[in-house]
């Protein structure tokens, strides 16, 4: 009978545990969870953190979404915009360029030809300035928000949590999830922080305060 690597490793672990029996541990979870903060405080905290990590921040009410988005795209001279299939099209009513609706069939190199991408978001953590994308239809597959050089991301204030634990409880583990805190960055050359290596070099966040 051949012994598989799996059996061997599991047997080794049991041997190790027999040789050095473990003492049981209680896990103290005295860190902060279930926090709440008023809207204004969450907005202020999130804005501070996003700006600190060199993201561009725009704040507006829901009725101004199309205008604000159009302004951001115009300023960046976006003519070819990628969107996920489930995005609310009314957001684009003031945008005049071309729109490419992404799907799993679009070859990834074509995403490289886009000037930018516009998506929604699942959850956002204010304390760390982290946006969570979970690949829902209004956010799209992961490649869509990765390959283009500009990501415009709409965040509704109701989805903004104070801290990390409050954000993690809102996630769906089976969804591929990407946490984004500012544009991509490196400090690999003499520890000098540089924005933008492989991911989008610009992250523009549109926070809607009444949604």
């Amino acid at each position: 009978m051949t012994v598989t690597a799996r059996e061997t490793i599991l047997a080794r672990i049991r041997d190790a545990q027999a040789l050095a029996p473990a003492s049981a541990v209680d896990i103290p979870r005295d860190y902060r969870t279930g926090r709440t903060l008023p809207d204004a405080d969450r907005l202020a905290l999130l804005t501070d953190r996003l700006v600190d990590y060199k993201a561009e921040v725009h704040t507006c009410t829901a009725d101004r979404t199309p205008e604000v988005i159009a302004d951001v795209l115009r300023e960046r001279a976006v003519c070819h915009l990628g969107i996920p299939p489930g995005l609310d099209r009314t957001w684009l009513s003031a945008y005049e360029g071309e729109v490419h609706v992404d799907s799993a069939d679009t070859p990834v190199p074509e995403l490289d030809a886009l000037d930018g991408v516009l998506t929604s978001s699942a959850v956002t953590c204010a304390e760390t300035g982290t946006i969570f994308l979970d690949a829902s239809p209004d956010q799209g597959r992961r490649a869509l928000t990765l390959v283009p050089d500009l990501h415009v991301c709409v965040v509704d204030l109701s989805t903004v949590t104070p801290g990390v634990p409050e954000a993690v409880t809102r996630l769906t583990p089976t969804h591929p999830t990407t946490l984004i805190s500012g544009p991509s960055a490196t400090s690999d050359i003499e520890l000098e922080r540089l924005e933008g290596v492989h991911g989008p070099r610009t992250l523009a966040v549109v926070i809607r305060t009444d949604m």
């Binding site: 490793i9 473990a22 103290p28 690949a135 490649a143 999830t177 990407t178 490196t186 520890l191």
Partner: protein, 519 residues
């Protein structure tokens, strides 16, 4: 999927096989450190890096009122994980399989290398893109793939620099920190095909050159190899924490993804991420959150790689687990905070440790994974002495690994096995990095109390040499007759160590000129 029942006497699990992978240098620590110290560029770069990251880390950890509670939770979760390792690994395997992935088990590095090679060959590709992974570096995967005619492209900027220069990483987090911008420009001009010959050494231009070169690789290479920071047993979710986006590229664009993960990286619950996503970035880069973290569970139709393989690696980890004290080292989340606070690392640099894992954690994890050979002049046997036992690493560690105690335990095991005096070895290692053997000897003579170190009987007879400034003229109680470990664990031991470390730091400062920063 039956679990083998346990029969007979437990056997000590094997270490990583001698002579394989990158868990052993070719020279002892004092010798290697001696040479590294001559590299002024390395010392300057490293000093700047460690001090900068240290200051950032202190700022962002100080920001959280519940930082200590997070550390306590992190430490307990990892200990609980090690206690329940078999069931958690089986659960992880079941969940990954359920989600469309395939799980492989590798007893050692050679087996993992073979598995990865076979999986790559099955795709028909002779190239892979890689995201920085310590596990694959530990097992020497790139070298093995090259022997099999498969080219592995490192995609992390620092790893790319290291790879193009045919060099070795010197820091867990910033592996090319020993290179300055001019060197990097030369490395790129020589190593990147078609790079602009006029490329200057402005960091942004260097990064742009890497972006252009790698983008083509990301878009065309059908297979990626990654490591993993965490693997969640409850859901089968894997995680890679990164900054540049090269990780997202590798995890998202290819058809096939192969993830090599040490068995100790499993975590019980998805909710445990709420602890580790706070501990890791703040301790590692000193950021509130790193720019990108990817979480994925098996295969998602229409999104990302459609073939996913997880290789679970032992390679000496079960041997470490069999050591009641040493197993703590498996709790490490590879944040590198302990490197950045270590006076020995700062002077010697990462290469002196001869292993994928440098610094304080490397000094405890390397000998445990790969063993300390008794007969030969094994470089790994010198690692537990590459420390002043000042305790800064313990204070910095987000999962509270008691590295000084582990070092003392390893020293003890080594002297037990070889009969060599720990004192002599510690003296050699410490003197090599602190640079002034004369200062050391004089200080030791002055220390009338003698030096405390666990002798062969495990009793205190001497003070370790790094406590060079410590003397009984300071009204220190005579060391009690108990094991060094017990003494170290006591409040008295801790305060004595601190006093000695401070004294040592002062002595060093006087000998070397002013330090730039107070810790």
């Amino acid at each position: 999927m039956s679990t083998p029942t346990y029969l007979g006497m437990p056997a000590l699990p094997p270490r990583s096989p001698y002579g394989t992978g990158n868990l052993r240098g070719d020279r002892t620590f004092p010798r290697a450190a001696h040479d590294e110290l001559r590299n002024g560029q390395l010392r300057r770069n490293l000093g700047k890096a460690t001090h900068t990251i240290r200051a950032k880390r202190l700022a962002v950890t100080g920001e959280l009122p519940d930082w200590e509670a997070l550390r306590d939770a992190g430490s307990a979760i990892k200990t609980d994980t090690m206690n329940r390792l078999p069931e958690l690994l089986e659960q992880l395997e079941a969940k990954v399989t359920e989600a469309g992935g395939t799980v492989h088990w590798a007893r050692d590095g050679a087996e993992a290398n073979d598995i990865v090679t076979r999986l790559v060959q099955q795709t028909g590709s002779d190239e892979v893109i890689k995201v920085k992974s310590m596990a694959t570096q530990e097992i020497g995967l790139n070298e093995h793939l090259a022997d099999q005619g498969i080219k592995a492209h490192e995609t992390d900027l620092a790893e790319l620099i290291v790879q193009l220069a045919d060099d070795k990483p010197s820091h867990i987090l910033v592996p090319a920190i020993h290179r300055n911008r001019d060197e990097i420009r030369e490395i790129f001009r020589a190593g990147i095909p078609g790079v602009d010959p006029e490329l200057d050494s402005v960091p942004a231009h260097l990064a742009a050159a890497a972006r252009a070169y790698l983008r083509e690789k990301f878009l065309t290479t059908p297979v990626a190899v990654s490591g993993a920071n965490f693997g969640i047993a409850e859901t089968g979710t894997l995680s890679v924490v990164e900054s540049e986006g090269n990780g997202r590229m590798c995890l998202t664009l290819p058809d096939t993804l192969i993830t090599v993960m040490g068995i100790e990286k499993v975590l019980p619950r998805y909710a445990d991420l709420e602890v580790f996503l706070q501990l890791l970035p703040r301790s590692s880069t000193g950021e509130r959150m790193n720019p990108y973290t990817s979480l994925w569970t098996g295969v998602t139709p229409g999104d990302g790689p459609q073939n996913f393989h997880l290789v679970l690696l032992d390679n000496g980890r079960t041997a470490a687990l069999a050591d009641r004290i040493g197993r703590q080292a498996l709790n490490c989340i590879r944040c590198s905070a302990c490197l950045n606070v270590c006076p020995v690392y700062e002077r010697a640099g990462g290469h002196a440790y001869g292993s994928t894992y440098p610094g304080p954690i490397g000094a405890v994890v390397t000998p445990q994974l790969a063993g300390m050979d008794v007969s030969a002049d094994d470089p790994n046997s010198s690692l537990p002495y590459a420390s002043t036992l000042c305790g800064a690493c313990y204070d910095a560690c987000p999962v509270k690994i008691d590295i000084p105690s582990l070092l003392v335990e390893l020293r003890h095991q080594h002297t037990e096995a070889t009969g060599r005096t720990a004192e002599k070895l510690a003296m050699k290692a410490a003197a090599a990095v602190m640079g002034r053997p004369g200062v050391y000897r004089a200080a030791q003579k002055a220390a009338g109390l003698g030096r405390v170190v666990a002798g062969r009987d495990g009793k205190i007879s001497h003070l370790p040499p790094p406590f060079n400034g410590w003397s009984d003229s300071r009204d220190t109680p005579a060391p009690p007759k108990r094991s060094f470990r017990a003494w170290l664990a006591s409040a008295e031991g801790a305060s004595a160590l601190r006093a000695a470390a401070e004294e040592g730091a002062r002595t060093r400062t006087e000998a070397d000129g002013p330090d730039e920063e107070e810790q």
